[in-house]
């Protein structure tokens, strides 16, 4: 009956077919109802992951603090986990982590921001199309490669200028980490700046402002929270970075301000202690979780901070 060409009868069929299909449609409606439930289960995996991380870290951290007083851990400047008279002060690790991250930020913040300005305000789309993927490529280089590079190239190079620099030191991985987070800062800041409405730029350049003035007086103030958020996220990334410092900064648990010395970060400590596969039950083993918990809380605070800052900025216009 369908192939009889197009008569008005056929036309009616469409409506009727549709109506008919709609009537006998309980399965589809059930599927329609089930899908959000199913998807919400999938979505809950990400929440479960967080719970898993916190539970894993917390249960063993509690065990650790049964053996080592809380205060000793957070105020101790000596970390000798494997010694006959072990001491578990986390401050040397915090020092290493903070120092390397600050060095990284000192490199990445100005360069990243300037690169972002260039890309968002000055570069032609053609240039942007080339430079952005290259920056992304830099972000995509595995950190182990940076580590190798810091250890076998940057450190020897730096020693030409700073003879007192140790073969493993916190300076070189800090600098290289800085380069590693340039793309992140550049790209997030660029996002913040390019989300400043063009109308705002037109308003300013319509009054005869140069690009620099438009950027400095309108774009950057408007994007400031986004830019700051990118810095915070950059630091957070540096804090969590592992392989570069593990390879290039050694495992000396120095509590010092001397960046030419070897220092150990929290992440590098974790790698050292697991040493391929950690054995359960010892205080050293539990210290691993206490340090990881500290690291986790540290980065969590940073991330929440970044989020809070950038949220403020989204409400602007």
């Amino acid at each position: 009956m369908i192939n009889q060409g197009m008569t008005k009868k056929d036309k009616v069929n469409i409506r009727e077919m549709i109506d008919q299909n709609q009537r006998g449609n309980s399965i589809r409606r059930k599927v329609e109802k089930a899908i959000p439930i199913f998807l919400s289960l999938i979505a809950s995996i990400s929440v479960l992951t967080t719970i898993g991380i916190i539970w894993t870290l917390l249960s063993e951290t509690v065990e650790f603090f049964k053996r080592v007083p809380f205060l000793d851990f957070f105020t101790g400047t000596v970390l000798k986990p494997l010694s006959q008279n072990p001491e578990f002060g986390v401050l040397p690790l915090l020092m290493g982590t903070v120092t390397s991250s600050l060095i990284a930020l000192l490199v990445a913040a100005p360069i990243g921001l300037m690169a972002a300005i260039y890309l968002s305000e000055y570069a032609s789309p053609k240039v942007r199309k080339v430079v952005k993927p290259i920056l992304e490529l830099l972000a995509g280089v595995p950190t182990i490669v940076y580590g190798f590079f810091a250890f076998t190239f940057v450190t020897p190079l730096l020693r030409e200028f700073i003879p007192s620099l140790q073969a493993t030191n916190i300076l070189s991985p800090g600098l290289v980490m800085g380069v590693m987070i340039i793309p992140m800062i550049a790209s997030l800041s660029e996002d913040a700046m390019s989300s400043v409405p063009t109308a705002m730029r037109e308003g300013a350049s319509g009054l005869g402002a140069t690009k620099l003035e438009v950027t400095r007086k309108v774009v950057i103030p408007a994007a400031l929270s986004g830019i700051i958020a990118s810095f915070v996220l950059g630091i957070s990334r540096a804090i969590g970075e592992t392989m570069i410092v593990t390879i290039a900064s050694g495992s000396t648990k120095n509590f010092t301000f001397d960046i030419t010395q070897s220092m150990q970060t929290m992440t590098a400590y974790i790698v050292e202690v697991t040493g391929g596969d950690a054995a359960t039950g010892t205080t050293v083993y539990y210290s691993l979780y206490a340090v990881a918990m500290t690291l986790f809380v540290f980065t969590l605070i940073m991330n929440l901070l970044a989020r809070a800052v950038s949220k403020r900025f989204r409400e602007e216009y």
Partner: protein, 272 residues
Amino acid sequence: MTLLHERRKEKTLSVVRNENWVKPIYETNGLNLWYGTSHALKNIELDINEREVTAIIGPSGCGKSTFLKTLNRMVETATDVTISGNVTFKGNNILGNAMPVEILRSKVGMVFQKPNPFPKSIYENIAFGPRVHGIRNKATLDMIVEESLKKSALWDEVKDRLHKSAYGLSGGQQQRLCIARCLAIDPEVILMDEPTSALDPVSTHKIEELIHDIKNDVTIAIVTHNMQQAARISDRTAFFLNGEVIEEDRTTTIFNTPSDKLTDDYINGRFG
């Protein structure tokens, strides 16, 4: 046209107003709508008559689109929308849960300001609606595609590239494709939201002709910012301002002897 007959057969239960033989397919009573706390529609009392073209005019932001989208409940896709009042479609309240929106929308097509074909082939665009409603048979689909394209006067222009992307069409062709896509599910009403405002004069003219051609089969409600267009194509016109219907009447009356000063001002371009 059996369907037509059927529609005619339905007893005119609702009150016949203004003219004889014309009965409203949509009736709106005390319709209020809020986006969050902003009151976008205020106490609307407006009917849409069957097999007429109703034009809705008014300045930007007055609630024209909102009202139109209430008629197929598309407005609910926005977040935090509160609706009160009654809207009946063929006597059934559509605002409750009595009728699933999918069924309502299969009877009420919609055409938007910006042509919005799917990023698929022309054929797939037209076949989308029927497929969604469970029509799988290839021959039937072929037939529906051809028929809909013919009705929307697009068949000759595209019959050789049915399986090419719809994005290769011009803006005007895309808009006619969107109308064809509606026609493919044989709706009783088509809602059009400024369907020609992004189009060139020639395309506009074609769409107006198309509206004229299909208005005997389908009820049309059209939002337009072009008053002359409203005057040319509609039977009745409603003038919205600030979420209220200021005036609603036969198009000739609205344009020649509006009873409200605001309507007069708007039609004569003193604002908007």
